[in-house]
Symmetry: C2
Subunit: 234 residues, 2 copies
């Protein structure tokens, strides 16, 4: 070893590499010089290879013997991976990404509400009720409001009891969080409880159509807020 300074732990290296791929430093098809990289980051080749293995697992790079390890085209990336999405949104100058996320929300969430209305257990209902109460209690506190909002949507997805939909919660959550970041402090800031309660009531009543409609309204409003905020910034 050359120095004793404390070095990155855990997924530090992965984050670094990911951010480089996300930035235009390494575009599609770029080949990575492992030895140079190893030296620059001051980590061992093994550690580097482990980090690359993680990125390969997410479809962002491909390492083949003799040919080298190179950055995969964006189409090959696992966009549905929570990490990949987080990195993207973090590095995003791309406002289109958020629009795409909202579009997915508009597709998935109303349908999830419909399914949940026909399938939610008592526990699900109870956990949704709590989230709603938290949301009411969090009025005025932006941070707590966002958390309660996220919790409500997450629990609704869980109430579908469909593993794939449950997992999509992560996508929804990032979309929501990004919106909140943009909208944050905007003059809208109206009480979110009534609109969410409509969804909740429909789920409790076991009324799929009403649940779907209420959630669709929620997402639409969310989208409008976002557009307004984006216009306000330009």
């Amino acid at each position: 070893m050359t120095e004793h300074r404390p070095r990155g732990l855990h997924g530090q290296t992965v984050e670094t590499l990911a951010s480089r791929i996300l930035s235009d430093e390494w575009g599609e098809g770029a080949v990575l010089d492992l030895t140079a990289l190893r030296e620059e980051l001051d980590i061992s080749l093994t550690a580097l290879r482990e980090a690359l293995k993680v990125l390969a697992a997410k479809g962002m790079i491909d390492a083949r013997q003799k040919r080298g390890t190179f950055v995969q085209p964006r189409e090959a990336w696992n966009m549905l991976d929570a990490d990949v999405m987080r990195w993207q949104t973090a590095a995003a100058d791309d406002p289109g990404l958020l629009d795409e996320l909202t579009e997915v929300r508009a597709v998935v969430e109303p349908a999830a509400a419909r399914i949940a209305a026909g399938r939610a257990s008592e526990q699900d209902v109870e956990s949704l009720r709590e989230a709603l109460a938290d949301m009411a209690a969090a009025a005025g506190d932006p941070e707590a409001s966002v958390q309660a909002d996220l919790a409500f949507h997450r629990r609704l997805m869980a109430a579908t009891h469909n593993n794939f939909l449950v997992r999509m919660e992560r996508i929804i959550a990032i979309g929501l969080a990004e919106r909140d970041k943009l909208v944050h402090g905007a003059p809208t800031a109206e009480d979110p409880v009534p609109s969410h309660r409509k969804v909740f009531d429909a789920v409790v009543a076991g009324d799929p159509a009403a649940a779907e409609q209420a959630m669709a309204a929620l997402v639409t409003k969310s989208h409008d807020d976002l557009e307004r905020a984006q216009r306000a910034r330009s």
Copy 2:
């Protein structure tokens, strides 16, 4: 080294570990004995750790210093990862998984058709037309039919120009392929071209509502085929 026999390359180890997790050999919360595993699989600790890193990236295990590396609960798995899903369906005694996949298809595909109808480029239309032609040409050949079917659905998702929806194609594809495996050779085997052409025509006409409805009918039929096949086996 102990022996010179050719050993697994590439993702061999990952597959092995994944299949063990999928089987009940290692249930949720099970701790993995790395050194014992290393010996059993006859690979180095580093290679093993790299394989584990891949699984960790997919949320299937968690390795923490001192505490050990243990299998994560299913909720933490990245179900939307193509590999995870493939492993699941491969090991699946679980018919529920296929139902969940079909449910997701029913949510996503009609919506995707609707979006595609309002957004498809000329190239998209052309590639869909080709897929339809391939489907017609493949009549009688089960393997080619499945391929053409998959291609049609994949290209439709691509026509949404939404990165997340495009990526969901992998989920759809596995659901479709599994259905085809079950239905294969069933007495239904009616011509799939007309139903797909309805979707295609609606996309070409730029009629979102019609596209959504036509695709919904397609998925419903697909689901019915599946149920019939499942009943026939019991």
